[in-house]
């Protein structure tokens, strides 16, 4: 049997979900034998590949680039997993949504900056007016809440998916865990 | 069980408080007369200010938060003063489908005030009503209490213009 093609993506989040993913101790060896990591912050790959079996997405959709990426991911992925609260609810990144984008940028890069008080505009993605859960942009197949979701939950989820089962997330994690 | 405290002194020597005072006493300072008393206060002063709310609360022996809760629940009550003149555009169904939104848009374009707002010179407040029951004459606009029926934007602007030029 060929190995499952797995991708992980890091959008607007703190990378905590990826830390949790890597935190599964020896189980990562078991997992590694079953999968091929085709795209991830931990893999040096510039382009999102085609025919991905499972993609775990950490982080909310905040910028035009995030949205662009999500659409490409959806087109090329069989099963899309929203990993963690940021992807599912917007979580901490969405706390900016009560304010205007300009206000926030000004606060961060001008008011609170000591040196070089200016808002970066070149070479950085443009922020959307609102940071949103990824299922508002693309269809999501599996939701794994948690901040971050426990490693075990992530492992079980991926293992279930690889075995062709619908993961049962319910009892092992929750918003904010 | 509960004892009634002495009637508090009105917030100021303004004579209008006498009317509020009378309304409170007419109802025997009963808590259930709160809405009636707020109506009287708004008729007298045009709006409900904090001091007045405190006065009514004390006089009726009611918690402050309850009085504030009631005053903000009912949309007829206003907690801020209105302009010299008020133009109330009826937004009942009949008025809505016969062009009330266009009248509002015209007022906003000309005077820069949205419903619920007052012009900077404090001359004009534009308000909306849920339905004033003049559906047979839709669209209806109330200019300082005077109902005008079958209005078009230009009529409404003309009526308002008269106030603004004084």
């Amino acid at each position: 049997m060929s190995k499952a093609r797995i991708a992980t993506v890091w959008l607007d989040g703190c990378s905590g979900c990826h830390m949790s993913l890597l935190d599964m101790d020896e189980k990562i060896i078991t997992l590694a034998s079953l999968i091929e990591m085709v795209y991830s912050p931990t893999v040096d790959m510039k382009q999102y590949p085609q025919n991905v079996d499972v993609c775990l997405i950490e982080g909310a959709a905040s910028s035009d680039e995030d949205i662009h990426k999500l659409k490409i991911i959806r087109l090329n992925t069989k099963c899309l997993v929203a990993l963690g609260d940021c992807a599912i609810t917007g979580n901490v990144p969405s706390m900016r949504n009560m304010y205007k984008v300009e206000e926030i940028l000004n606060r961060a890069y001008v008011e609170n900056a000591v040196l070089q008080q200016q808002i970066p505009r070149i070479g950085v993605p443009v922020l959307q007016t609102r940071c949103r859960p990824i299922h508002e942009i693309v269809k999501v197949d599996v939701f794994v809440p948690g901040c971050p979701p426990p490693s075990e939950t992530i492992y079980n989820c991926v293992a279930d998916l690889l075995a062709g089962k619908t993961p049962d997330i319910g009892a092992t994690t929750r918003f904010g865990k | 069980m509960s004892s009634i405290s002495a009637m508090p002194a009105p917030p100021s020597s303004d004579k209008r408080w006498k009317l509020v005072d009378a309304a409170i006493k007419r109802h025997g300072r009963a808590g259930h007369s709160l809405i009636e008393c707020l109506h009287t206060m708004q008729e007298c002063f045009g709006y409900l200010d904090e001091q007045g709310l405190k006065y009514v609360a004390t006089a009726l022996n009611l918690p402050l938060s309850k009085v504030y809760g009631v005053a903000t629940f009912y949309h007829i009550f206003s907690l801020k003063p209105q302009g010299e003149h008020t133009c109330v555009v009826c937004m009942g169904t009949a008025c809505y489908i016969k062009g009330a939104p266009q009248i509002l848009a015209a007022l906003e374009e000309k005077y820069g005030v949205k419903p619920g707002e007052t012009t900077k010179d404090n001359k004009l407040s534009v308000l909306t009503a849920r339905c004033i029951g003049s559906c047979g004459l839709a669209p209806a606009v109330v200019f300082d209490g005077d109902v005008g029926g079958k209005m078009v934007s230009s009529d409404a602007l003309k009526r308002v213009e008269k106030w603004m030029n004084i």
């Binding site: 599912i88 609810t89 901040c147 904010g176 | 309850k66 504030y68 903000t72």
Partner: protein, 240 residues
Amino acid sequence: MNSTLASQIVTLKIDGKDCGARGDETILSVARENGIDIPTLCHYDGLTDIGACRICLVEVKGSPKLFAACSTLVTEGMEVSTNSPRLQRYRKTILELLFSERNHVCAVCVSNGHCELQAMAMKLGLTHVRLPYRYPNLKVDATHTRYVQDDNRCILCQRCVRVCAEIEGAHVWDIMGRGIEARAITDLNEPWGASTSCTSCGKCVHVCPTAAIFEKGKSAGEMVKRSFVSELAAKREVYE
């Protein structure tokens, strides 16, 4: 409550189980006495029920209407169903509405792990909210010396209003405005710290299901609520 009702003994079925009860008991209390769990949010033992959250809705055979278990009295021969797929679906959607209404960020919340809203999501298997979040810009009032009020986390269950009015007797809290603009307020919508009526008793803090009201100095996950209010209510009596 009604003394004639209290003296009546009624029999009813809840989820097929035969139950006996006094006529002045609610469906909720009878269900709980019989080990049947009906989820609730605005209900709090010892406070008057208001039937606001609609989480505890149940089906009663013969009626197309749903009934709030917390505020519906049992009647003879009643057949109650508490957990049909339809009810489960409604409860979940109501929960989604609550999450979408304000800004509930569990990860950084002082009640994380001890929050009734969060626990309810887990219990009902809510993994995500299908409705767009509204992200209203709401105030946090930290003017009180000991407590903080955070509108972002309020679900308008009115427990604070009821505990303050009914148990403490201060009626510091009430609801202002209406509809989606409704907010919990103290006094004349003044800073809590400036309240002339608050006794700082802290009952509102401990009945709050989320962390819309919490103790100062607590950080994420540290706010654990105590459950003394129900006991207080049960032990109230007229002295002499």
